[in-house]
């Protein structure tokens, strides 16, 4: 399988606090990697480094065989447009309604001819996929937490990303809604053939979506494997996490 993300020996620190130490990771086309670990351990930092929101200290991050640390802002932008990022709090533009939230990245993309007809078609298709077609004219503040997550996911999908980075997609949601989001993530992957890195604490989410799970502790991946392998692991700490 083709590698879409290749990270080698990544280091990132904030002043004296070394958050990521010698992290290496490879994400292949169509693969889902789940990164788990305690809060504040650096999971979100990892995906923010991947998308260039944070600069890493050393090591290389290659996306589609391009080292992002060598890119200028505009070149990085063209890579970013192929990556979707679902933020923990959805990060919806609160001054725009549902439709405008989706239209905003579309108007700045280059993948479709920007006629009203085309834009409406893409927006309707994506909203239908996430079950929000009837909420098109609502403001984000009028949506429930689950709907906001779905809109966040819809916004990442309008640009037809090849990679999606999920930052705790089910955090703060009730079990039913979180189940809906997980189903949506799986259907999105099937439909758009995306590759994903999923940051989560949710065991159900990890079980349902992961091809490979990595456990992050003290800045390094100290365990990895499939959900079943992790569950059977005899290490006390890993067993505690998965049981």
């Amino acid at each position: 399988m083709d590698e879409v993300i290749r990270i080698k020996n990544l280091y990132k620190s904030f002043e004296d606090n070394e958050v990521l130490k010698d992290i290496s990771l490879s994400l292949r086309k169509g693969e889902n990697i789940v990164v788990m670990g305690r809060s504040g351990i650096g999971k979100s930092v990892l995906i923010k480094c991947i998308v260039g929101l944070l600069n890493h200290d050393s090591g290389t991050i290659e996306i589609f065989n391009t080292d992002i640390s060598t890119l200028g802002y505009r070149q990085l932008d063209s890579i970013r447009k192929r990556i979707g990022f679902l933020f923990q709090g959805s990060a919806l533009y609160d001054s725009m309604n549902v439709r405008e939230n989706l239209e905003f990245p579309l108007l700045r993309s280059r993948f479709l001819e920007k006629t009203d007809k085309n834009i409406n078609r893409v927006i309707d298709e994506v909203l239908e996929n996430v079950g929000l077609l009837n909420a098109k004219n609502k403001m984000p503040s009028e949506l429930s937490g689950g709907m906001q997550k779905r809109l966040g996911l819809a916004r990442t999908l309008v640009l037809r990303p090849q990679i999606i980075l999920y930052d705790e997609p089910t955090t703060g949601l009730d079990p039913v809604t979180s189940g809906e989001i997980i189903d949506l993530m799986i259907s999105v992957q099937k439909k758009y053939n995306t590759s994903s890195i999923i940051i989560t604490h949710d065991l159900k989410c990890a079980k349902m979506t992961a091809n490979n799970i990595k456990l992050l502790k003290n800045g390094v991946f100290y365990a990895e494997g499939t959900y079943e392998e992790m569950k059977k692991n005899s290490n006390k700490e890993i067993a505690e996490y998965f049981n």
Partner: protein
Amino acid sequence: MIKEINNSISPVKELFIEIGGLSIFTVQVLRQLLHRPYEHKEMLKQAYYAGNKTLPLIAVTGFIMGLVLTLQIRPVLVDIGSESILPGMISVSIIREIGPVIAALLCAGKIGSGYGAEISSMKVTEQLDAMEVSGTNPLSYVVMTRVVATTLMVPVLVLVADAIAILGSYIAVNMNTDISLRLFLTQAYRPLSFRDLLPATIKTVIFGFVIGLIGSYKGYYSKRGTEAVGSAANEAVVYASLAIFVIDLVVVQITELLYG
């Protein structure tokens, strides 16, 4: 001893760090003006909001400013028998100094604090990050558009404030004497010259730029957390107001040097 020296140096150090940060930010924002997209729509929207939302405040304050200033100065001029210079005196003081500074301070309070809070809140809720990952530079879409909006609108708002202040002054004069508007305006504009208008207008353009820039800077580099939103709004007003007085001082000195 060293600790005490460090403590006393600390605010100065912070001020220099702030000035350095603001200078770098200014260059980054100005660079956005050279690159596409120019975000015309957002720029117009921000200009409309800045102008429209501040206009009532500016109008009321301008009216009171002209009225009160006239009522305060008139008895002094009557005592020395120079009441006829009242309209000219009011117009010169309003157009050269009081109008631009008061209107700019109001804009700093209304627009600057709004930018600080709004952009800081966008940062806290990761909206700026979301923009960046979807290929839109927030420095261009959020900051540059707002800085251009205030640079264009503050001079317009100052002109409105000046005009309404002079109208307020006319009403105050008419409380005691009967004078036609035509005569009042003739007397008001007679002492005004190009050297009064040009520096005052240039000054307001700089005020507008600085209000937008400091408001955006405080929001853009605010800390994360809800408390940071309040701090950003507060600091935006304080720093912008201070900058307005410093710029005013510099422009007055330059004008004095140029025109004697």
